[in-house]
């Protein structure tokens, strides 16, 4: 395997264009966690032309709802949730400047088209490795919707979070290509 690429948020168009499916990435900087209920609210705000709880331009959203932080830790287990449930909302966020998404599982055509059109990338994290993933999160802060509990939006400071590029701006889809390579039917 190739050496992992080190990336720091916020991401630029150049950062994103340089990425290809299958690239391993170590991501550092600030990212935001948001999942089902938070996405519904973010898109409602955009449609109502109201300000968002954080600036989307160049940012990365992690589809994740952590388990509570035990004493002495910044966060509990913190692996990705399945991304297709955010597909109805993702194109709107991408059109408003979102540059990266972290989750697990394939995206639909509308999301992939939005990623190509507006230059955004989709990273896969290891689903089910919540204890391991938590090791790359240095600090967390709930910045919106605390009443949603695990679904609140959190600002996360991450260091060398291990990811793989699953969809790039060039139309590549690792979920399609990877399976093609190993299918024996």
């Amino acid at each position: 395997m190739k050496e992992p690429k080190k990336l720091t948020t916020p991401l630029t168009d150049d950062d994103v264009i340089a990425l290809k499916i299958g690239d391993t990435v170590l991501l550092s900087g600030v990212i935001y966690s948001a999942r089902d209920a938070a996405h519904r609210r973010l898109v409602e705000l955009i449609k109502a032309d109201k300000p968002l709880p954080f600036e989307l331009q160049g940012q990365v959203i992690y589809y994740m709802g952590p388990s509570p932080a035990p004493p002495g830790r910044p966060i509990g287990a913190a692996g990705p949730t399945t991304s297709y449930r955010m597909d109805p909302y993702a194109p709107t966020l991408i059109a408003h400047g979102l540059k990266g998404m972290i989750g697990k599982g394939a995206r639909n055509d509308a999301v992939k088209e939005a990623m190509q059109k507006h230059r955004a990338v989709y990273f896969a994290a290891i689903g089910g490795a919540g204890a391991l993933m938590s090791k790359s999160i240095l600090s967390t802060e709930v910045i919106a919707y605390p009443e949603l509990g695990p679904e609140a939006i959190r600002r996360l400071e991450v260091k060398d979070m291990p990811l793989v590029v699953a969809n790039d701006v060039h139309g590549g889809d690792l979920y399609v290509e990877g399976v093609k390579q190993y299918s024996r039917i």
């Binding site: 509570p68 509990g76 896969a124 490795a129 979920y175």
Partner: protein
Amino acid sequence: MREISAETITEAVKKLCISANTELGEDVVKALEKAVEMERSTAGKDILKRLLENAKIAREEKIPICQDTGYAVVFVEIGQNVRVVGGSLKDAITEGVRRGYSEGYLRKSICHCFSRENTGDNTPVVIHYDIVPGDRFKITVAPKGGGSENMSRVTMLTPAVGVKGIKEFVVQRVKESGPNPCPPTIVGVGIGGTFEQAALLAKKSLLRPVGDPNPDPEIAGIEKDLLDRINRLGIGPQGLGGYVTSLAVHIEMMPCHIASLPVAVNIQCHAARHKEAEL
């Protein structure tokens, strides 16, 4: 009549919720170690190794294997000669889940179906009661994550499709699920009974140690054939391509109606969490 106090049950359930979510079973660990040997994809091998590392971190540092600590599903086998004192059995179990998820720093993942408002304490609990002879009391806590549960289905097949049709339905379900249930998975299959019984059989099959075959050689043969077909799909670890899509297929079967052939597929991610206690 043997008496068991509600408080004893509550404390047992609390402990089981915590241990199930932080200690991956040795059967799964062994299955993952075997999978590392079988996997041909370098990236896939790396993912499997990371899942093993994840299980080690969770066990040693007492944090959940996965942040989705699941819907608490509880199976109770209660002897006819057992009486619960000091409260109702249902309340005792519910309180155990409440305490376990709070004291164990487990995620509360249960919400209202329409408003999506979180219930705040991971209750209610899905409880399956089984009244058995004698005075035993066995309780199993099996937290079930949403990602793999979402990929599960029940169908009522036409009897004419036979074993071939059953196999096609199972393989198709795994294929369509692709990366979503966090492969490598364990595929639980319930055949027969009625609509709801098939689903329960599928869920119960997931309590079997990973890879233990069904005692009926005919069914064990179908399990083996299905696992081979599933692992030829190429989905691989995390759905990014590879040879190991599933660690095992478990089938439970019972007779069905002359008009029916119910089949349920309950998909389980590698975090096949279940812990049991006899009180």
